[in-house]
């Protein structure tokens, strides 16, 4: 009974409507090609499976031992054996030809209109956009994380690699999965038919928080994408002197900027010398990188896309927006009213308590004193308030 219940639950789970990582709901040209291949293959495999099971069932029941004499033994029927060899071979050829064609289609890079570098590390994804004429034109490189922002209806080519261990990049609605391997660059086509958010998940076990290594692709129409690019290249604006955010800037510089880069952040020495604050994650983190937080509040997620920066209500408004309204809503970023301060506060207070990571002193001993993930910084509540106020202006 228990087994029947479990099996029924597993089967019924396939009927879920709200399943953002459903492989049967393609939302882009590449995923559609896979979909067009997989349903006939599943159909053929299903028919063959049913026939084989039915044949086995028939033989088991019809010829079960009832005390009858041993039937006549033969040494094969060549015609039947040849037929049963040729038939599966024909089925495999029938499946193999469209499969090979789809593989070549998915590997085609000739129609690339936009290039984005994707780098996996424990346990988040970094996206950097090289300066290029593609993507509608990007004048300066852009670095972001958590959400991969792409122009809709555009052939994007992802150049995938990893800084530490093997990960796998997969956004089911837009394409199949592709491993990211240290020292190698793999390419993956990506195209979304309409503006919207498409969920994904690392699909190669990569350590303690593998299950928390999520990703989201955000497709914007080309005009909105250009607006997003413009926002990402906006120069740094210091918080108003004396404000909570200004205190947060100092707290951020003293505690967070060792690993997290905020482009344009600088410090002023007592003699008035201004020097840029440059993060050195290579000295503290095994992967040698930490998310760039320059425009954190233009994203909707943090900590490897594990938590939303938006409250549930605001998040639902963005996720459920129509393709026409989506871009404008997404480009609003995270406002003070929509900020999910609860999770962000817990994260800053003690990140390893919220997401399993190798970040304690004992665990660091096994990796040359470097952490995997974000350590607990021991900040007090006042400092956390100040840093959140500062981050809220990183938009």
């Amino acid at each position: 009974m228990l087994g029947l219940t479990a099996a029924s639950a597993a089967v019924l789970a396939g009927c879920a409507k709200d399943a953002p990582q459903d492989t049967w709901q393609p939302k882009g040209e590449n995923a559609q090609k896979i979909h067009d291949l997989q349903w006939p293959v599943f159909l053929v495999a299903g028919i063959v499976g049913v026939i084989v099971l039915a044949a086995i069932g028939f033989v088991v029941i019809r010829y079960r031992d009832k005390g009858q004499p041993m039937p006549e033994q033969s040494h094969g029927k060549p015609a039947l054996e040849i037929a049963l060899t040729i038939l599966p071979a024909l089925i495999l050829v029938g499946v193999g030809i469209p499969t090979a064609s789809t593989i070549f289609d998915l590997a085609d890079e000739s129609d690339t209109e936009c290039i984005i570098n994707v780098t996996g590390q424990q346990w988040w994804w970094e996206y950097d956009y090289p300066a290029q004429d593609g993507c509608g034109g990007i004048a300066e490189p852009i670095v972001t994380s958590g959400q991969l922002v792409i122009p809709a209806n555009t052939n994007v080519l992802l150049r995938l690699t990893s800084r530490d261990v093997i990960h796998s990049f997969w956004i089911p609605a837009l394409n199949g999965k592709k491993d990211t391997v240290p020292g190698r660059v793999h390419t993956l086509r990506m195209q979304a038919d309409q503006p919207g958010i498409y969920a994904g998940q690392c699909t190669e076990f990569c350590g303690l928080s593998h299950a928390n290594m999520k990703m989201e692709a955000v497709a914007l129409n080309p005009d909105d994408f250009q607006t997003w690019v413009g926002n990402q290249l906006e120069p740094y604006v210091s918080p108003e002197a004396g404000s909570q955010a200004a205190l947060g800037e100092a707290a951020f510089t003293a505690n967070c900027a060792y690993c997290h880069q905020v482009n344009g952040l600088s410090s002023t020495a007592p003699d008035g010398t201004v020097t840029p604050v440059l993060a050195n994650p290579d000295q503290f983190v095994v992967s040698g990188a930490a998310p760039n937080l320059t425009h954190l509040m233009t994203r909707n997620t943090f900590a490897g896309a594990t938590w939303d920066l938006l409250t549930d209500e605001c998040r639902d408004r963005v996720w459920n927006a129509s393709p026409e309204e989506f871009g404008a809503l997404y480009l609003q970023g995270v406002t003070a009213e929509c900020l999910n301060a609860v999770d962000l506060r817990e994260w800053i207070r003690n990140a390893p308590a919220k997401k399993p990571m190798y970040a304690s002193d004992a665990q660091k001993a096994n990796s040359d004193g470097k952490v995997r993930g974000m350590p607990a910084l021991g900040l007090n509540e006042t400092q956390i308030d100040q840093i959140i106020a500062y981050l809220l202006e990183r938009n």
């Binding site: 690339t112 290039i115 090289p130 660059v185 880069q261 440059l278 290579d282």
Partner: protein, 383 residues
């Protein structure tokens, strides 16, 4: 008065006492005491065995006792022949040699001793199963074959593969392929002949295979002793500014860049063409560019192709950083360069940029250059 067995134990006991005295006189310190006490203990144990042997009269059965000729232990079927005592002796010898020579031999001796002990115990146990030796052998086989066959198979394969590898490493790179093509052809021919003559006796096939295996193993052993062929190691990159800016070359391994693994991992190809221009090309980015993007803190394989008529090298200028050396601020300008690359040649370099482009001084950006060629420069962007 003393039986033969008793005399053996008496002699051994006396020998142990003499050895204890000799050891005690020859050496000083705790080691001498330990050895002397150990040898005297051995002597006492041997005397104890002598007493038992003396008491049971070497377990001889009296010829007058007719019942004893059929019922005594000595009258039972003798155990089957066993090689394990000999193997055990080999293990003992290896242990002794290993104590003097090298720990590896000592450990191997211990392993051989344990195997011999275990095998001998199982054989002795199976010999008591019945009076039928064939049945006893099948009992032993049922226990030991599931262990012996996989272990022997693995050991045999290891020996063959190791022998094979020694031969490959001994032969020159030129003769190696020819030898193995011929060898592979012979094996194929042999297999064909065996298959085409199904009436061939199994003993003939086994004999040929044994001779071939022995030939392979003995050749491998000889070549292992003789050593590997000479393999030159050439530097392919340098981190010395003086080297990177010079036009002199010491060594070039022309084939170092032909590894398939390296070629399949190229983050960027930097091309120096006949017009004296330097371009970059990256996976997925079709066009040649004066700028390449490399990820921060990530190992990047760079291939340099020299399509010009000159012999040149590629230099990666990895910025300028102020570092504290014993309290003094010093500006470091790390560089990495390939060796001089001949026309139509190629060379690899592996780079890691731990800091973004923003971290380096604006006057010293990350670039690829060709020394001595004005304008031959590709910007490296590290986001």
């Amino acid at each position: 008065m003393f039986t033969t067995g008793s005399k053996l134990f008496i002699g051994s006991s006396v020998l142990a006492i003499v050895a204890a005295v000799a050891f005690g006189v020859s050496y000083d310190g705790a080691a001498a005491w330990t050895a002397a006490i150990g040898l005297i203990s051995v002597s006492i144990a041997l005397l104890f065995l002598m007493a038992i042997n003396f008491w049971v009269r070497d377990s001889n059965v009296s010829g007058m006792d007719s019942d004893a000729t059929t019922t005594s232990a000595a009258a039972q079927e003798r155990p089957s022949n066993s090689m394990w005592p000999a193997v055990g002796a080999l293990g003992g010898a290896l242990v002794a040699i290993g104590l003097v020579a090298t720990p590896v031999v000592f450990k191997a001796g211990i392993v051989v001793l344990l195997i011999a002990l275990f095998e001998w115990l199982v054989q002795a146990w199976s010999d008591r199963a019945s009076s039928d030796r064939r049945f006893n052998a099948s009992v032993r086989g049922r226990i030991m074959h599931p262990l012996e066959f996989p272990v022997l198979g693995a050991v045999g394969l290891t020996v063959i593969i190791y022998s094979f590898s020694r031969i490959m490493l001994f032969l020159s790179k030129e003769s190696g392929p020819a030898v193995f093509v011929i060898l592979a052809a012979l094996i194929t021919l042999g297999g064909f002949l065996f298959a085409s003559r199904p009436t061939l006796k199994a003993s003939v096939v086994a004999g040929i295979c044994t001779i071939a295996t022995l030939g392979l193993v003995s050749t491998g052993a000889v070549m292992a002793i003789d050593g590997e062929r000479e393999m030159h190691e050439h530097a392919t990159v340098s981190n010395e500014p003086a080297v990177c800016s010079s036009n002199e070359e010491t060594e070039v391994d022309e084939k170092a860049s032909q590894g398939v693994a390296a070629k399949s991992n190229v983050a960027a190809t930097i091309i120096y063409n006949a017009d004296g221009e330097l371009y970059g090309q990256q996976v997925g980015m079709g066009e040649y560019s004066r700028m390449v993007t490399l990820q921060r803190s990530n190992t990047s394989q760079i291939m340099f192709r020299n399509l010009s008529d000159e012999t040149v090298r590629l230099v990666a200028n990895m910025g300028a950083f102020e570092v504290d050396v014993n309290g003094t601020t010093v500006t470091e300008k790390p560089v990495t360069c390939t060796t001089l690359v001949e026309p139509d040649g190629r060379q690899f370099m592996t780079l890691v940029f731990p800091k973004s482009s923003a971290a380096t001084a604006p006057t010293d950006p990350y670039t690829f250059t060709v020394p001595g060629v004005e304008g031959a420069s590709v910007e490296i962007v590290v986001p």
